[in-house]
Symmetry: C2
Subunit: 221 residues, 2 copies
DNA sequence: CACATTATGTCAGCGACTGACATTCGGCAA
DNA sequence: TTGCCGAATGTCAGTCGCTGACATAATGTG
């Protein structure tokens, strides 16, 4: 309605249509997140979410495949950010260190560029707590996480110039890393002490530091 | 119908009622497994499963909370077996070795005692392959697995005489172990070479052997 | 042979999700 | 501006997973 069309734009403008679509999508994510936080995931109906944005239920399902997907959408940006950071790590770096640097960066380097929409870091942390309250949501989250591990394994294999079908180490490392991350998330959402991204990063660090010691020898000495 | 009641039984007999219940439960699991394998998980309806056992849909949901649960039931016995074996490991053993011994044993020591019903090892392996074909089934499986990891972490903590809230190593080890197990499952269900429990055990072994090397230093030399 | 318990069936209903079809709206050119 | 094409949305009907409420049948017990 506002915003001059700038007739022969640099072919870079998203166009009114695309912008409108993005707006409804963001509105759906935000409304869903708010409702989920307020009354719980399972007690919130898709009709409520759609109604809050004044859109038909059918339209909702054209934006998201299912209810889980809206809920987890607020984590999507953080995940993409993590992948970007991982790809940007220097090739000489040892794989586990690269993973660690990427995950820490993805939590701390907020708003670097696009901080648009409801994908704020706080929303992501709220979601991580919410995930533990709903079995179906937890299940959906775990599925996404394992898909991410596949991607991570591929990136590691490329970094090291390995064939993933030949050398199993990338897959093993990605799986172990993912497991430890989950443990850290769980620990964070259970404890009430550490809050905010810094607390999360601290917990992730403590868990990763224990990965080596947990594997070897006797624990007692 | 057969099996003499042995009137004043040693108070150990399950009773007709319990036996009948067990039979329908097993029948449901087996029918479901067969239908899932034949026409896929999502394309099989609960009514079909119930109909195959000549039971109402409502009764089905009195035995299983949802469709996922029947499908994953064929793995339940193996999981319980694993937990038992883990508890039986000597206390002096290093935790990772105990986990490894337990998981190998749970795949190889088949039919040791109750091998009744549809919970055969072959069915379990078929299920593991089926899991990768259905997103919702995979999600449900992952959720169960993480619950198992909680149990494993508790057992490890007890073994070592640690407070799980204090020392994070049990949780970290359980998570990493679980991740590597998943990687092995995926690898097994992807490759067509290794079949049967032996192949699975071999793959699990190869993955666990790489857990240490994947974490440390440079991979190239 | 009653009587309490428990498993099962029937029915109605909600909520997630989908296909089919009609309608409207943004983009683009005559 | 006008007119057209395709994309986005709404409406409707229907399937399937799942649940509560109530009635009925089977089983175990005195």
């Amino acid at each position: 309605m506002a915003a001059q069309p700038a007739s022969p734009a640099p072919a870079q403008e998203p166009g009114l249509r695309a912008r409108k679509k993005q707006r409804t999508r963001d509105a759906l994510i935000e409304a869903a997140h708010r409702l989920f936080l307020g009354q719980g995931f399972s007690r919130t109906t898709v009709d409520e979410i759609a109604g809050a944005v004044d859109v038909s239920q059918r339209t909702f399902f054209r934006y998201f495949a299912n209810k889980d997907e809206v809920a987890l959408a607020v984590l999507a940006e953080a995940e993409d950010h993590f992948i970007e950071l991982l790809r940007a790590r220097p090739a000489e770096e040892n794989p586990l260190r690269a993973l660690r640097a990427a995950i820490v960066g993805s939590w701390l380097e907020r708003g670097a560029g696009r901080d648009t929409g409801p994908s704020s870091v706080t929303a992501a942390l709220e979601l991580i707590q919410m995930i533990e309250t709903s079995p179906t949501l937890l299940a959906a989250h775990l599925r996404r996480v394992t898909e991410q591990e596949r991607v991570v394994a591929t990136i590691i294999a490329e970094r090291e110039g390995l064939d993933p079908a030949e050398d199993l180490r990338p897959a093993v490392l990605a799986a172990a890393f993912g497991g430890v991350l989950r443990a850290a998330h769980l620990s964070w959402s259970t404890d009430q002490e550490d809050t905010g991204p810094e607390g999360m990063v601290a917990l992730i660090g403590r868990h990763l530091d224990l990965l080596g010691p947990a594997l070897v020898g006797d624990w007692r000495p």
